[in-house]
């Protein structure tokens, strides 16, 4: 499978179809995988694909340093590809100027990451080509189980939980930087004329920041889980995003990054829009 992936990449570079391959590399067989940028056909042997390939590489597509390399080919898992759908809907990428190599995925992590246990996009659906195969089947339906358990707690218990969790946030913004959909040139927390959100990593400032971020991702977050993986304080930020993802699905039958033909809920308005979920 890895040979097929490398061959595809070699061909794309040799035929000058693309200028750079955004993929995964590894320093040693048992070491962690990390993003690499391949610009020459003779470098394609550096590419790897295995269950350590956590990163959602689509976050690089909107970055100036990477854009400067020219037309990219990108390696995506099914979950990462959902971010591509949203980026395209929001006119952040030109799909024609991008070659998408999908990898069929059994899941990442050993034991498997939480998102993989409820995955229903093991095979990328809109890639220019898909490499490999997987026996994994759609988990179906379990994606809000963890949230459901959490919501069984009383509001006071949930508040205590978030106060404890968010007290550990130092505002390193790793959650924002790994997120493919946090692509604003100037994030609202960096606006200082005037300051909109306290820059201080106090409980008040942290709560404001994480709530603003979750709301900005409402109906957009594709649950790739990168923010949770990146957080040095181990904060389960996914619970915030899942709450809004579930609201989008329950009230608008909408899941971000699943159907490119559907109008994004935040980008559309209908007189039939229900409002009963607004407190």
């Amino acid at each position: 499978m890895i040979e097929q992936l490398r061959q595809t990449c070699r061909r794309l570079l040799e035929e000058a179809k693309v200028n750079v391959i955004i993929g995964y590399g590894q320093s040693s067989a048992d070491g962690p995988a990390f993003p690499i940028f391949i610009t020459k056909p003779e470098q394609v042997d550096k590419l790897v694909w295995n269950d350590k390939c956590y990163a959602n590489l689509t976050t690089y597509l909107t970055r100036n340093d990477v854009k400067a390399l020219g037309k990219p080919a990108i390696i995506v898992k099914g979950c990462d590809e959902r971010a591509l759908v949203v980026l395209q809907q929001e006119s952040q990428i030109n799909r024609e100027a991008l070659y998408v190599i999908g990898v069929a995925c059994d899941g990442v992590g050993n034991p498997r990451a939480a998102k993989c246990l409820v995955c229903d996009v093991h095979r990328p659906r809109f890639a220019d080509e898909v490499v490999g195969d997987t026996a994994a089947t759609d988990a179906g339906g379990g994606r809000y189980l963890e949230l459901g358990e959490f919501l069984k707690k009383s509001p006071a218990e949930r508040m205590t939980y978030w106060m404890e969790e968010l007290s550990r946030c130092v505002k390193c913004y790793a959650c924002r930087e790994v997120c493919p959909l946090c692509y604003c040139n100037r994030c609202i927390v960096d606006k200082n004329r005037p300051t909109v959100i306290d820059t201080s990593a106090t409980l008040k400032g942290n709560l404001a920041w994480q709530i603003v971020r979750a709301f900005h991702l409402a109906g957009r977050c594709v649950s790739c889980g990168e923010c949770v993986r990146a957080c040095p304080a181990g904060i389960n930020l996914a619970l915030l995003n899942l709450t809004l993802a579930r609201a989008a699905e329950e009230h608008f039958q909408y899941r971000a990054g699943i159907d490119p033909q559907k109008t994004p809920i935040i980008g559309s308005y209908s007189l039939e829009d229900k409002e009963e979920f607004i407190l």
Binding site: S27, G31, P32, A33, F34, P35, I36, F37, A55, T59, Y60, N64, D65, V66, R168, V170, K171, C172, Y173, A174, R176, E177, V178, D190, N192, T195, D198, T199, S200, A201, T202, G205, E226, R229, A230, P232, A233, G234
Partner: protein, 341 residues
């Protein structure tokens, strides 16, 4: 002969310390798989094994992520200012890694340079730091490459060395350390075995020479390409100490505060004009490494890195100081072999 303390007595020591109205901090498992230095509510929360390095550093307890310098109030046309006094409550940090304690001694230099930082110094005075020798290390550790090791004593008031049966040998290094453990230890014939650290991973002298002679190294662009520009490395680093000063308040008044900042953020060097002298991530990564291994050394004679590995451990894309230094060496060797051709 050695002085020995049991885990139970260490916990009691912490509890007695807290009951006197003092504060204590140390490694705590905040989740089953996440260990962090946290304020301790009791000695029982203290983690003394089963972790390599907490995901944060102890700098938080000297140089908090957020600190008020003074408060202000508008009274008509007048402005009233009030100084903020740093806490002088005696503080105990127990179970810090040697690489964290060493960092505080390194930070003494910059916080007592052209300006003596009262906040840092008063906390430093009020703090007793007891380190825990490292029984394990991981692929991210490189303390031995920067002249430290699993039992390095720099910055510590006392060091604990694990013995076999849940006991610790105590070596007091300063008067503060002696005062803390006076009457709390038993003399024993047991002595801790020497602990082994990671092998030497990178020749720092070669790095320094490379940084000195090749500021415009083209390697930076390539190395930093995958850097996402977050502050996970800097904020979990025991030696990174940059901060921003901002006013937070409303029309009635507010506070001028010091908040952690990182050279990896584009905003760090953004001018009011919109011009940014470090406009690429390569320039920002270069700054971080140049500061740690050349600039700080030229100014203060010390390397601004203790090899704790937190930058790599917390990096979402496996960068961090060690991997960056290794890549720098690889680039240097590659280009010199290209020249020899």
């Amino acid at each position: 002969m050695s002085e020995v303390i049991t885990r139970k007595n260490l916990q009691d020591l912490v509890n007695a310390w807290i009951s006197r109205g003092n504060t204590a901090a140390g490694p705590v498992f905040v989740k089953p798989d996440v260990c962090m230095y946290e304020k301790l509510s009791s000695g029982e929360r203290l983690a003394l094994d089963s972790f390599v390095h907490p995901t944060n550093s102890i700098k938080e307890f000297y140089f908090p992520r957020h600190e008020k310098i003074y408060t202000y109030r508008f009274k008509g046309q007048k402005l009233e200012l009030d100084d903020c006094e740093p806490a002088r409550t005696p503080q105990l940090i127990l179970g810090a890694r040697p690489c964290d304690a060493a960092a505080i001694a390194i930070l003494d230099r910059v916080f007592n340079w052209d300006y003596k930082d009262k906040f840092f110094n008063l906390r430093r005075e009020a703090t007793t730091i007891v380190t825990l020798g490292c029984a394990e290390y991981d692929d991210n550790c490189f303390c031995t490459s920067v002249g430290l090791g699993p039992t390095a004593e720099k910055g510590s008031d006392a060091i604990l060395l694990p013995l076999n049966d849940g006991e610790f040998e105590v070596r007091c290094l300063t008067d503060k350390g002696k005062a803390l453990f006076a009457g709390k230890t038993q003399t024993s014939s047991q002595e801790a075995k020497p602990l082994s650290g990671p092998e030497n991973r990178v020749d720092i002298e070669l790095i320094v020479a490379q940084l000195e002679k090749n500021f415009e190294d083209p390697a930076w662009r390539e190395i930093a390409l995958r850097c996402l520009g977050c502050g996970a490395c800097a904020y979990t680093c025991p030696t990174c100490h940059c901060f921003d000063i901002v006013d937070e308040g409303n029309a009635a008044g507010g506070a001028r505060v010091k908040n952690w900042d990182s050279c990896q953020f584009p905003m760090f060097t953004m001018h009011a004009s919109g011009h940014n002298p470090r406009s690429t991530q390569g320039q920002r990564q270069r700054q971080r490494i140049q500061h740690k291994f050349r600039i700080y050394r030229e100014k203060f004679g010390e390397t601004l890195c203790t090899g704790c590995g937190n930058c790599t451990r917390n990096c979402p894309v496996e960068l961090g100081v060690l991997n960056t230094l290794l890549s720098l060496r690889e680039h240097a060797l590659r280009s010199s072999s290209e020249v020899r051709g």
